[in-house]
């Protein structure tokens, strides 16, 4: 009997408002069973208010080998709030 089954990636939310965080994966015959197994495996002790399961094969990921994907050819400091003058500093300098 084939019990290898598909794998589902599990995302765990500790409290409402927090992000769902990837915690691992389970083998399951269908999504409902995946949720049940994910609860037993990842939510049997610490607080959890919500779980997501996603078929592993439905995850599209970047390739670590393809380091060009994230390469930044130009200076991107103009995207960073710290690269600009602060209005609070101007107020502080006044006093």
């Amino acid at each position: 009997m084939d019990t290898q089954w598909e794998t589902y990636e599990v995302f765990h939310q500790t409290k409402r408002g927090d992000a769902h965080v990837h915690v691992g994966s389970v083998h399951a015959p269908d999504p409902q069973m995946a949720l049940q197994l994910a609860k037993d495996q990842f939510a049997r002790r610490l607080k959890c208010v919500s779980l997501w399961v996603v078929r592993t094969k439905d995850v599209t990921a970047t390739d670590y080998q393809d380091d060009g994907f994230f390469a930044q050819s130009t200076d991107k400091s103009y995207r960073d709030p710290k690269a600009f003058e602060s209005p609070e500093k101007a107020v502080d300098d006044e006093h």
Binding site: M1, D2, G24, D30, Y64
Partner: protein
């Protein structure tokens, strides 16, 4: 772009490890690294699965409801750890089914300690306290391993193992405050588990065939000897603080090194037990096979459910 040579890939791989970066499933890695990891992680997974058995048999006899619930939770954790580790090994290309098959047919190896008997309640406490302390020292080291999926599994496992140690120590400390027969029972369990627990960290570095490569690629960050010494230094004062004896007349604090000196276990016994010839190997596998057979209907029910589930569009 020209394809990199094996030497270039290996150099990049080793540089990444030297910088403390984790290796992830999609990354290039030498075959030997992959093989060594599959061996270590699958043996670790099997140990968790078989590790349920020596203590699991005490669930019906646990003294009191709270200790029974605690022991059930502990044994459930071991099953969960097995699942986490099988998943980690699967990222290297070996299937869970293959690994389970190797365990059931007796081809797979697992930790020596689970092949010793648990005749008294004190064994449950001493396993949690001694064996799991040794396991946590090893696993805290493995949480630093260079392979990402294994390191992540270890972090969760270490957290849960610390509960295992606490409940084991609590059970033994309770016996330590008990009547003479209870104290004697605990001492007897310590005596029987001492050497198997020392062996658990693996053979001495000079006869271990895997250590060099595992250290070179940071699969492990400490040698068997280092892990064992850490365990001895931590546990000897605890055993004596409860008023028990360490069953080694030649165990003493070496003022010069700051470490405890201890008598080496019988390494021939370790070799025998790991290769299938320990006191309980046959019994453990027989129970594991029986349980696997008895669970067939669950797997069949789930398989039937799967065939009825519409495939995602």
């Amino acid at each position: 772009m020209q394809e990199k040579t094996h030497e270039q890939k290996l150099a990049e791989f080793e540089a990444r490890i030297a910088r403390g970066e984790k290796i992830e499933p999609g990354d290039w890695m030498p075959d030997e690294y992959k093989k060594n990891l599959i061996r270590i992680i699958s043996q670790h997974a099997h140990s968790e699965i078989v590790g349920q058995l020596p203590e699991g048999k005490w669930i019906p006899y646990a003294p009191g409801f709270r200790r029974k619930l605690t022991l059930i939770a502990k044994v459930q954790d071991e099953a969960g750890h097995g699942q986490l580790l099988y998943r980690a090994a699967e990222t290297l290309g070996k299937s869970r089914e293959e690994m389970m098959e190797e365990l059931l047919t007796g081809k797979a190896k697992y930790a020596n300690v689970f092949n010793y008997p648990t005749p008294t309640w004190a064994d449950v406490g001493v396993i949690g306290w001694l064996v799991d302390t040794s396991a946590v020292i090893n696993q805290t080291m493995l949480a630093q391993t260079s392979y990402g999926p294994y390191a992540r599994a270890m972090k969760r496992i270490c957290y849960e193992e610390s509960f295992h140690i606490k409940q084991g120590y609590d059970a033994v400390a309770t016996l330590a405050r008990g009547i003479p027969a209870q104290r004697a029972m605990a001492q007897d369990a310590i005596n029987r588990w001492w050497y198997p627990t020392l062996m658990m960290s693996g053979p001495p570095d000079k006869i271990s065939v895997h250590t060099d490569q595992a250290m070179r690629w940071k699969i492990k960050t400490k040698t068997n000897e280092q892990v064992r010494q850490e365990f001895v230094d931590l546990i000897v004062p605890q055993i004596r603080a409860l008023g028990f004896d360490v069953p080694d007349t030649n165990c003493y604090l070496d003022e010069a090194t700051g470490h405890y000196h201890y008598t080496q276990p019988d390494w021939e016994e370790l070799r025998r037990v790991v290769n299938g010839d320990g006191p309980c190997n046959a019994e453990r596998l027989a129970v594991r096979r029986k349980v696997h057979e008895e669970g067939t209907w669950v797997r069949e029910a789930l398989a039937a459910k799967q065939s009825k589930t519409p495939k995602a569009a």
